[in-house]
């Protein structure tokens, strides 16, 4: 492990573990809340678009 860090530093690279990412959110499952919220909002927008599509079809078929 230490030799890996030394190797990375020698190459001028930051060891992967030191780069901050949202690991906590992935580990404690809160990332799923983010995804759920985004999907719900998207579902709402799609529902709206389907509604417009249906209404237009009704007008066109008259």
């Amino acid at each position: 492990m230490a030799s890996l860090s030394a190797f990375s530093i020698a190459l001028g690279q930051t060891p992967a573990a030191e780069i901050e990412m949202a690991d906590a959110l992935h580990q404690n499952g809160k990332i799923y809340v983010v995804v759920a919220v985004v999907l719900i909002i998207f579902a709402g927008l799609v529902w709206y678009m389907i509604g417009i599509d249906r209404r237009l079809r009704r007008i066109e078929n008259k």
Partner: protein
Amino acid sequence: MNWIKQHGWKALGVFLVIHTLVEGFLGPVPRLNILHETIRNLYFHVTMWFAMMAILTVSLIKSLSYLNQFNLEQDRWAAASAKVGILLGVLGVITGSVWARFTWGDWWANDPKLNGAAITLLFYFAYQLLRSSIDDEAKRARVSAIYNIFAYVMLVVFLMIMPRMYPSLHPGQSGNPGFNQYDLDNNMRRVFYPAIIGWILLAWWMVTLEVRTRKAETNLI
């Protein structure tokens, strides 16, 4: 069966975007300095521009078709595509600005790509203004079709040619590794390419809704 032919592509677009949203947040991404988790913005900011290119190219083709055949239907498609294309461009600029704030430290940079994108959008805003200033249908169609060609050429110049000529901070320009072999790994490609298709399909759905709405409006008058 008929439903699939008529609406299958819309469902595919919705499915692909849902896939993008889920994998966008849950999928593995390279751990890179400065970018951190914002690299996931690739699936949203960059895809907006790809979709914009596709939709505005269709707009150009419809304008050229109109000048060839003078069918007002084609003008309606050109106008609707331009409208949605502008929306995609605006979303691209806004999302890019937010991304810049958190990675470069500022909402905007005096950068060829960024300024080029803004100028391109101004050209297309002018297209909208031009259209709204002419009442006669045929004249409006003809003038805006000619302008659309000009605007597209300007897009190519300001978004694709000019940024490559000068040093730029924007990824993908002037030797920045920019989201290809160094930063964009196969995990991301698996999400990125379907995402482009998904967003384009959704954008096209919006174009068809716009055209059908205009048609319904003119039929009612």
